[in-house]
C-alpha cells in the first residue's frame, strides 16, 4: 500500500511506522495463536502493546547500527528490519529461519542489519551491545547501539554495571527501558526501589528522559534527538519508555493476576489506536488504514503458511556451527 505520493513527509513516516507496528502486532497475534495451539513450541513472549517503542527507536537508527534485544524480541527484530517470513520460519524451527531453526523465539537475530539477537538471559544483551560498540570503535566504525531492557531487568547487576561502563567509556549506546509494569507475574514496582529509572540512570551520569512509550511519534522524536547526540560523541543516554504489556508474559499466560480495572484503564492507550488516531487527524482515511491492515495481515498469514510447509533442518545441522575443533560426538 504505497500512500499517495503527495503526502507530507511527516505523514508518510507516520504511515510507515504504522505499517511496522501492524507487522509486529499481527506477527505476535499469529505466533501466539500458533503457540497456544502447539504448532510453535517453547516460550513465546509477545510484544503486543509495546510496538511503538521498538518501532520508534529503530526508526531513529541506521541500518548498520546495532540493536540488542531481550527475551521479548520479535518487535525489536521487525523494527530493525528483519524479515518476518524468516522469523516465522525460525519460530517454526524450519530451514530458512533466521538462525536455521536452531534458536527459536528467544534468539531471533539478523546480523546483516545489526540485530544482535533476542536473548534468553535478562540483561546479557545490554552488556554485549556495549562490546559491539567498543569493538566497532576500535575498527573505526561510527555506529551506535540501542540496548533494550525491561523494567524488571533494570534490577539485574550486569545492567547496572553497564550504565557505569557505558558512561566511563563514553560509548554511543542508547539504553531503552521498556517499562511494561510487569516482570512475569510480579508487579515490578513491588521489587524496584528509588524515585525512578531516570534518576537511577542519572546516578551513573547518563542523561535520561521519560517518554510515553505508546506514542510512536514521541518515542521516535526522543530517540532521534538522543541518537544524534550520541553519534556526535555525547556519551550514552537513557530512555525510559512507559508502556503496558497488553497480553500475558507468555503466549499461554492469560495473566489472571492483573486487576480488571487496570486492563480497562489501559485499553484506550493501545499504541496502534494512538497512531491510527494520529493518522486520521493527519488526513489519512479509514479505508486506507483498513487496506494497510489487510495487506499486513495477509503477508503474515502467507509467512505462516510458508513456515508450516517448510522443511525441518537436516539432521546434520545439529552438529554444525558448534566449534571448529573438537567434534561434538566424541565419547558417544
Amino acid at each position: 500500500m504505497t500512500p499517495a505520493a503527495n503526502l507530507p513527509e511527516e505523514v508518510e513516516h507516520g504511515l510507515a511506522r504504522y505499517r511496522t507496528m501492524l507487522t509486529i502486532r499481527y506477527f505476535e497475534e499469529t505466533v501466539c495463536a500458533a503457540a497456544v495451539a502447539g504448532r510453535i513450541r517453547g516460550p513465546v513472549h509477545p510484544y503486543i502493546g509495546e510496538e511503538a517503542i521498538a518501532t520508534g527507536v529503530c526508526a531513529a537508527l541506521r541500518r548498520d547500527d546495532y540493536v540488542a534485544s531481550t527475551h521479548r524480541g520479535h518487535g525489536h527484530a521487525i523494527g530493525k528490519g528483519a524479515d518476518p517470513a524468516a522469523m516465522m520460519l525460525e519460530l517454526y524451527g524450519r530451514v530458512g529461519g533466521l538462525c536455521g531453526g536452531k534458536g527459536g523465539s528467544m534468539h531471533v537475530a539478523d546480523f546483516s542489519i545489526g540485530m544482535l539477537g533476542a536473548n534468553g538471559v535478562i540483561g546479557d544483551g545490554v552488556t554485549m551491545s556495549l562490546g559491539a560498540i567498543q569493538g566497532s570503535r576500535l575498527l573505526g566504525r561510527d555506529v551506535v547501539a540501542a540496548a533494550f531492557i525491561g523494567d524488571g531487568g533494570m534490577n539485574r547487576g550486569p545492567v547496572l554495571e553497564a550504565l557505569n561502563w557505558a558512561k566511563t567509556f563514553r560509548l554511543p549506546v542508547l539504553f531503552v527501558c521498556e517499562d511494561n509494569r510487569y516482570s512475569a507475574s510480579t508487579h515490578s514496582r513491588s521489587v524496584t526501589a528509588g524515585p525512578g529509572f531516570t534518576a537511577r540512570a542519572a546516578g551513573f551520569g547518563l542523561p535520561a528522559e521519560m517518554v510515553d512509550g505508546n506514542d510512536v511519534i514521541e518515542v521516535e522524536r526522543a530517540a532521534r534527538t538522543m541518537v544524534e547526540q550520541l553519534r556526535a560523541g555525547a556519551g550514552p543516554m537513557f530512555l525510559h519508555a512507559l508502556t503496558y504489556r497488553i497480553g500475558g508474559h507468555l503466549a499461554q499466560d492469560a495473566a489472571p493476576y492483573r486487576p480488571k480495572e487496570e486492563l480497562a484503564r489501559r485499553s484506550p492507550l493501545d499504541p496502534l489506536t494512538r497512531i491510527e488516531t494520529w493518522l486520521a487527524h493527519h488526513g489519512i482515511e479509514t479505508h486506507t488504514l483498513e487496506a494497510e491492515r489487510a495487506a499486513v495481515r495477509e503477508s503474515i498469514a502467507t509467512a505462516e503458511r510458508a513456515a508450516q510447509a517448510a522443511d525441518f533442518p537436516p539432521a546434520a545441522s545439529v552438529f554444525a556451527d558448534i566449534q571448529d575443533i573438537g567434534a561434538p560426538q566424541w565419547g558417544a
Binding site: 524451527g93 527459536g104 528467544m106 507475574s185 558417544a332
Partner: protein, 327 residues
C-alpha cells in the same frame, strides 16, 4: 497414599517443613504466584510475603542473601528458576555457600537449599535446557540431589531442607506435571542413598532424575529380549551411593551410566572412572556411558530429538554393553 504431581509433592514438602520449622523460608523471582512450575502455589497465602518472598531479578543477590540468611540462623530455600540462571550466581554458590563453613573454621554453617530445575525443556533452546550437575559434584562443600518421582521429590526436598549442608536441589524442568503415588504419612529419604528401581542380573544402568524413567522403560524393552538390566536411580548425586553401585556391578559385571546431560566431562565420567578403579576385576566388559553429544541444545524439534537421551537410545547402548566382551 494419593496421587499428586511432582510440583504438588514439592509444595507439600515445603508446606510441611515451613509448618514444622519457622526458620524455613523461600525466596526467588515471581514465586508468590506459584513459580515457574507451580511449585510454590498457595504457599504465600498461608505463610505470607516474608516467608515466600518475591525478589527483584537479581540472581547474585538472591543467592548472596540466601547465604547470609543461612549464616544468621534461618534455613532458606533459594529458588533460581532454572539452572541456566544459576550461572548468574555461580560465584555466590561456589565461593560462598559451599566454602563458608570451611574457610571460617567451622564457626558458621550455611544450611540452605538451592532449587535450580535442571535439564532439557522441550523447545526452550540453548539457554534454557542445560544440565549442570557435573559442576556441583566437583565443588567441595556441596550436596547434590536430583529427585526422579513425585514421591522422591517430597521426601528428598524435606531431607534437603533438614540437612545442615548446603544442598543443590535439581528438580527436572520437564517433570512438574508428572504424577505418581505419594504416601499420606510424612516421609524423608536419607541423603546419599540410591534406589534400585529394578533388579537385573545382566548389566547395571546407573541413572538419575528424569532419565531414570527412560532407563526403566529401556529395561522393560530389554527384558523382552532376554536382557535383564538392573536400574539404579542415584537420587543423591553427591555423595553418590557407591556401595550400592559397586555391589550391583559386582553382581552384573557390566555398567552403563545413562544421563541426559552432555557426556563429555559429565557426572557419568566420575562414576565410570570410580567403578573402574574400584571394581576393575568385576568388569566383564568396558563400562560405558550414554549422554548428550557436546552440543548446545537446538530449538528445532527434530534436532532436539537427536541430542535427547531417551529410552531407545539407552536400550541400544545397553545392548552393546551386554554383548561386549572384556577386550
Amino acid at each position: 497414599m494419593g496421587r499428586m504431581t511432582y510440583a504438588e509433592a514439592s509444595i507439600l514438602a515445603l508446606r510441611e517443613e515451613m509448618r514444622r520449622d519457622p526458620r524455613v523460608w523461600a525466596l526467588g523471582e515471581d514465586i508468590g504466584r506459584g513459580g515457574i512450575g507451580g511449585q510454590y502455589k498457595g504457599l504465600q497465602d498461608e505463610f505470607g510475603a516474608q516467608r515466600i518472598c518475591d525478589t527483584p531479578i537479581s540472581e547474585s543477590t538472591i543467592m548472596g542473601v540466601g547465604v547470609g540468611a543461612a549464616l544468621a540462623g534461618t534455613r532458606p530455600v533459594i529458588e533460581l528458576r532454572i539452572t541456566d540462571f544459576a550461572l548468574c550466581s555461580t560465584d555466590e554458590i561456589v565461593n560462598q555457600a559451599a566454602k563458608v563453613r570451611y574457610m571460617l573454621g567451622g564457626q558458621a554453617r550455611a544450611p540452605l537449599v538451592v532449587r535450580q530445575p535442571n535439564g532439557m525443556c522441550a523447545g526452550f533452546a540453548a539457554q534454557h535446557s542445560q544440565s549442570t550437575e557435573a559442576w556441583w559434584i566437583h565443588t567441595p562443600g556441596l550436596v547434590v540431589v536430583a529427585p526422579s518421582t513425585p514421591r522422591d521429590n517430597r521426601a528428598l526436598l524435606k531431607a534437603a531442607i533438614r540437612s545442615d549442608d548446603p544442598v543443590i536441589y535439581l528438580e527436572h524442568k520437564e517433570m512438574w506435571g508428572v504424577d505418581g503415588e505419594v504416601p499420606d504419612a510424612e516421609e524423608t529419604i536419607e541423603l546419599g542413598k540410591a534406589r534400585v528401581a529394578r533388579e537385573g542380573r545382566d548389566l547395571t544402568i546407573v541413572t538419575w532424575s528424569k532419565t531414570a524413567s527412560f532407563a526403566e522403560e529401556a529395561a522393560r524393552t530389554l527384558a523382552g529380549e532376554g536382557i535383564e538390566a538392573e536400574v539404579v536411580d542415584l537420587r543423591t548425586l553427591y555423595p553418590w551411593d557407591r556401595d550400592c553401585v559397586i555391589a550391583s556391578v559386582e553382581r552384573t559385571g557390566r555398567l552403563l551410566v545413562a544421563q541426559e546431560s552432555v557426556e563429555i566431562g559429565g557426572f557419568g565420567a566420575e562414576i565410570v572412572a570410580d567403578v573402574t578403579q574400584h571394581a576393575f576385576g568385576a568388569l566383564k566388559a568396558p563400562p560405558a556411558r550414554i549422554g548428550a553429544p557436546r552440543t548446545p541444545v537446538p530449538y528445532s524439534q527434530p534436532l532436539e530429538e537427536i541430542v535427547r537421551v531417551d529410552a531407545p537410545k539407552i536400550a541400544a547402548a545397553a545392548r552393546r554393553v551386554a554383548a561386549a566382551r572384556r577386550g
